[in-house]
Symmetry: C2
Subunit: 442 residues, 2 copies
């Protein structure tokens, strides 16, 4: 694939008619919308949410798009900035491993704001998100781990391109205007991974979403940009450390073969590196042979890279619990709902029963286990031995996933609001984007 | 200098009290304000100006800051985006060679919008710009040509930091909040050189200015960002190809030793690489010994790198004239005002007298000549031989510079408007920023 063919490849994906969008990916996009609204509303009371609402609210402007956690409406670009930032506040949103980023928090805020702006339907909103997310996944693959390791936050950089694709589809840009928009956002896409642990991380997502509205809005008015800004000699790809063989990775992908379908949703409000263990333990815990009160030892085999990330042995705060294999293992076995944000309370660190069980958990780095996998053993006092492997990338049953996302939503927002949101998303083909956006309000 | 000392160095510059700002740099900042308003208003009818005004105008919002070439007022962030973009439309604004960029177009739009927002004085506006421009120059030096050659447009990247410093000073941020703002803008600073020749280039300047308002506005509300986002291990500097020895270049600079004072203003509406030649020819033309109508040959010695930039031998459009040594040389000797934008008309390419003279101009690459310099020889029919060297970096008399900027302004805006603008800038210590901003209006 030559360089300019890369942009044409993205533009082809962006322009797919609705009836050619793959059904499995569409279904995942709907579940991602449900999940994105859940984590957005759940994060709407975080301190940064108030700050960014105040920032865009002070500017005011046309009442175009909904702002999470408020009753005010603001211009689409302001809404994208605020909603993208707020929705990533809890770090509880979806992930795509090939993209190396979080699709929904960068792209849904742009898609929803643009959809409200033009009065689009719920169906068109999801489809615009989907082609944007697919574009972001493919560009994320082209950028690869080279880009990530150089210091860039793919959620924000690749996400800005995805947000541009989504917004451009809703604003009705033709291929030439979309090409200009992608050229323009090549100058705008940014975001550093060094922001992790600060408000700068969610801000990266909001900035990406706003970049999409901005690039689409300017290209829509005739703005031009360099044809080779994305992938020419001194382009975004070259200057931002894209992997040298990146284009080859996607050249054989059919435009309708959506990698986005592999998106994964966080079902527990803690570090993603612990999720495979939690899933395996939940399966073990449900086994009749598991004597939950007589556990002698739990052995967790995990990819060694996680040992530097989420192996805090003695957490002292709720935040540290999120990065503590041993404590999380104890919490699962004691029946704590790890989907609920409130479970990660500082006081849980002092619970003697959890401390005692955590002390019997051993974490073992194992090179043969994938980053997304785990193997867990439980030995009971009577020498019963149970074992369970789990891989987060294993295929998911969408109905089962939907039920778990609904349970997550209920844990975060309460049963009633979660059910109402579920009914809205289930019914989205009969609703306008504006009616869906009402779910974001206070 | 350790890495974190670099940020402290910038913060020290940003916080200098007015009475410690060096007088020469302050005077240049005032001349830059005059020149920036001149080129902004002169560019206000360009097609991109209408597009970006329409884009921000559609969003509306609080009537805070003036938009170039209109009677509407919009939020500061919108004004910074629009005014930065419009002011760089003609590519006729100031340049700083060490910064490798254009200070005014990225920083004045942010400073002016913030100054209008808080009701600051004209003096405070200029001083805020000045510390922002000095920060941008120093960061530009740290980034160096490595960054530029990697594909980045320093005007936009380094400019975003300068815009943040300027806006933060006007919004009254303390050192801790400024540090957060600089951390935040480390995630936002962007802009590619591959946009040159498209609307993407001026957009880069507008985006930088808007980034400054955004980072300052969020940090002002308590937003946090990573301490090491600017210069830590996976920071902006590292990921964006800063020169490895960059910090050493500024470590011995006293905080009040302002490199910004070396800013240079474009006095001719054509490629900067031709300006030294034009200045030398203007001096030769004024010599009594110069027989203007009997020129046998003009020989222009120039730095070889310019031969790839501005040595079009047979320009076919007004735009190509701007990159044509031989044609510009002919125009100078025929008394054409190269400060005037209208002089670069497509029809000038067909002028037989200009063509004939251009054919007698020889351009010679010479490694011993600096990028900012030239040596020009004129040989007349009677064998009179005249020679003149010129270096754009040679010290300037500020009064003489002021008169030339006034003449440039008159060539672009007409005598009356230029005189009115000059009176305003001369009197700026007695005016508010809002009163100065009125000069931007239609």
């Amino acid at each position: 694939m030559t360089q300019s063919a890369l942009l044409s490849h993205i533009i082809e994906v962006a322009g797919l008619p609705a009836n050619r969008l793959p059904a499995a990916a569409r279904q995942m996009a709907r579940l991602s919308l449900f999940d994105w609204i859940t984590v957005s509303v759940a994060g709407a009371d975080q301190p940064l949410a108030g700050m960014i609402r105040d920032f865009v609210g002070a500017d005011g402007g046309t009442a175009t798009a909904t702002i999470v956690g408020s009753d005010i409406r603001l211009p689409a670009r302001a809404a994208a900035l605020a909603n993208g930032t707020i929705s990533h506040a809890l770090d509880y949103d979806d992930t795509h491993f090939a993209y190396i980023g979080h699709p929904s928090v960068a792209i849904y805020p742009a898609a929803l704001a643009a959809a409200e702006d033009v009065g689009a339907s719920g169906t068109d909103l999801v489809d615009a998100f989907l082609v944007g997310a697919e574009a972001a996944c493919r560009i994320g693959m082209v950028l690869g781990r080279d880009h990530y390791d150089a210091g860039f936050h793919q959620t924000a950089t690749s996400g800005a391109f995805g947000a541009t694709v989504a917004a451009s589809r809703l604003y009705g840009l033709d291929a030439a205007a979309l090409r200009a928009a992608l050229g323009l956002v090549s100058s705008r896409a940014s975001g550093l991974k060094s922001q992790f642990g600060t408000m700068g991380k969610p801000f990266n997502a909001g900035a990406a979403a706003a970049n999409g509205i901005e690039a689409a809005g300017l290209a829509r008015r005739g703005f031009t940009a360099a044809d080779d800004a994305f992938d020419g000699p001194q382009s975004f790809l070259v200057s931002h450390h894209a992997r040298p063989d990146g284009a080859a990775l996607i050249k054989d992908l059919d435009s309708t073969q959506f990698v986005f379908a592999d998106v994964r949703h966080k079902l527990h409000a803690c570090c993603h590196g612990t999720h495979a263990m939690i899933e395996a333990l939940l399966l073990l815990r449900a086994m009749p042979a598991c004597h939950r009160d007589q556990i002698a030892q739990i052995r967790v085999h995990t990819a060694p890279r996680w040992l530097n990330v989420c192996d805090i042995k003695t957490p002292r705060t709720g935040l540290e619990i999120k990065f503590s294999y041993v404590f999380l293992a104890a919490m699962v076995m004691r029946g704590v709902n790890l989907a609920a944000y409130d479970s990660y309370d500082d006081r849980a660190c002092d619970d003697p029963a959890l401390q005692a069980l955590a002390a019997r958990v051993e974490i073992i780095g194992d090179d043969t286990i994938a980053d997304s996998g785990t193997r867990v053993e439980i030995v009971c006092d009577d020498n019963t031995h149970l074992e369970q492997s789990f891989d987060l990338l294993a295929p998911l049953d969408p109905d089962q996933l939907g039920q778990r996302l609904l349970a997550k939503s209920a844990a975060l927002l309460g049963d009633e609001r979660a059910a109402d949101l579920w009914a809205t998303i289930t019914n989205l083909d009969h609703l306008s984007a504006a009616e869906i956006a009402r779910q974001l309000r206070r």
